[in-house]
């Protein structure tokens, strides 16, 4: 888990090289085919737009990042709490679970205008949208974690007359933490999508708003510049969760796509 730094660099090298090649091809194609920048901008003009609009983008990033963070934390809390309720109170769980699954089939994006109508143009409609989009994977993974305790161990605990609450607190919840972390990683990427969609539906600031505004001005390089920032924000949040995972569940085996055998 704690490999030396030069090995980490080697891990990243293949994707870095591929990325540079793809960007190079893109740049070359734009110049060779003489494509207008408002149709598809070259990477170089996106970079120029990034630098020129740095202050504006930074401001928008703060707005969007705040929406993502607040929405994600709420989604995680709601998702985990739902899973706990379902496991702890069986009748409630039996009643709740099908409704949650049913709710999951509702296209959440379609709820954005309704949330705008209900909560206005501020932070809250975006947060609400993120919660409904992102809580489900958290609930599902948390449930799997709570329920995947070895039945043999449960039998041993019952044989010394352990109570359900003890089993939940001392075994099921810690056992669910690695699963919760996996659900949170999915939820954080969904949260970024939720924030952007929320801003599309109605906002006066943020990266989604910037994308929409720039596209009405036919400033395609800025649309792409904002997209780049959105991706960077998403990746940063994702790795933040991964750091959290390492801190909270150092004992759990990690999935590492760079080292599959």
């Amino acid at each position: 888990m704690s490999r030396p730094a030069q090995f980490r660099f080697l891990d990243a090298a293949p994707s870095l090289i591929l990325g540079v090649i793809l960007i190079g091809l893109w740049e070359a194609a734009i110049h060779l085919l003489d494509v207008n920048a408002f149709v598809v901008p070259a990477p170089s003009s996106i970079a120029i737009s990034l630098v020129q609009n740095a202050a504006l983008l930074a401001e928008a990033t703060l707005v969007t990042a705040k929406e993502v963070l607040v929405g994600f934390v709420l989604a995680t809390l709601c998702g985990a709490a739902l899973a706990l309720l379902i496991v702890r109170f069986r009748m409630l769980g039996r009643a709740l679970y099908p409704i949650i699954v049913l709710f999951q089939t509702v296209p959440k994006v379609a709820l954005a205008p309704i949330f705008i109508l209900w909560f206005g143009y501020d932070l809250s409609p975006k947060v609400m949208l993120i919660v409904v989009i992102a809580f489900f994977p958290v609930t599902l993974d948390m449930l799997a974690g709570l329920q995947s305790v070895d039945p043999g161990l449960v039998a041993l605990m019952r044989s010394v007359s352990a109570r359900d609450n003890d089993i939940l607190l001392r075994v099921r919840i810690p056992n669910a933490l690695p699963h919760l972390m996996a659900g949170m990683k999915i939820a954080i990427t969904l949260s970024v999508i939720g924030a952007i969609v929320g801003e599309f539906a109605g906002a006066s600031a943020g990266l989604g708003y910037t994308i929409q505004f720039a596209s009405t001005q036919l400033d395609t390089p800025m649309v792409f510049a904002a997209l780049v920032v959105v991706s960077v924000v998403g990746v940063a949040f994702y790795y933040l969760i991964e750091l959290l995972e390492r801190a909270v569940t150092p004992w759990a085996p990690k999935f590492d796509p760079a080292h599959q055998h």
Partner: protein, 293 residues
Amino acid sequence: MRVVAEQRATDILISAEDLALGYPGSAAFPGTTGGGTNVIEHVDLKVRRGAIVSLIGPSGCGKSTLLKAIAGLVAPTGGTIRVGGTTPSEAARRRQVGMVLQDATLLPWKSALDNAGFLLSLAAPELGRAEIRRRAGENLRLVGLEGAEGKLPRQLSGGMKQRVAIARALTLSPEILLLDEPFGALDAITREEMSYLLLEIWERTQKTIVLVTHSIDEAVLLCSDVHVMGARPARIIERVTVPLPYPRDQHSFEDARFRETEAVLREHLLASHGRAHAPQRAANQGAANRGAA
């Protein structure tokens, strides 16, 4: 000191009479007699205090279910079963019974020491953390894990994990140790080592031990009595006494009586299979019936 030490030879700690076990309300075992859901019927079993005995038999003969009944995890559907003069679940509540399963089932976020103390901390939180840790440490030493107290399960080998599971059962200070194919998931050498460890623990602590196993070798090496079980209908078909003196060790294998007992047991097991019309199943029971019976 045991109160009734002088009576030891006749002191029956576990007794089952005409015991029937099953899962009421389940249709998992259709076609059997007496309610239609019994896994085991007409089982008589007596285990003396301080004895080390095994239940051996084909897959699905209900030997694990019988062990679970002794642990109070499965309630009888007929007959009686008494453990230490009371019901099995009451005996378990009094921490008279410690159990070890085929999988160590340790908590991956707890150290070996805290895993060893875990069941006691659930059963008797009033003892306090320090006392529970002291007892857990004592038992980790007993199973030869001194120095590994702080290790997490993923840092331990399969054999070491199972040692922690044994220490966890011993930390309850039970009179009876129940082992359900405890070494079934281990390689041959580790298995043999664990057998010697178990003999050592038994000789030192004088616990009453009931062992479920597939291995004739293991049963003969460890046990004073071997109960051979047959399938369909599940019952105890033979009780074989092993005429080898204790202490036993790797030289016990060379004893002629070892080979004789082994041959007798093999014959009984084959016969039980013949009657069950499932002659091919004896050879490859190993991993296939994890948690089956």
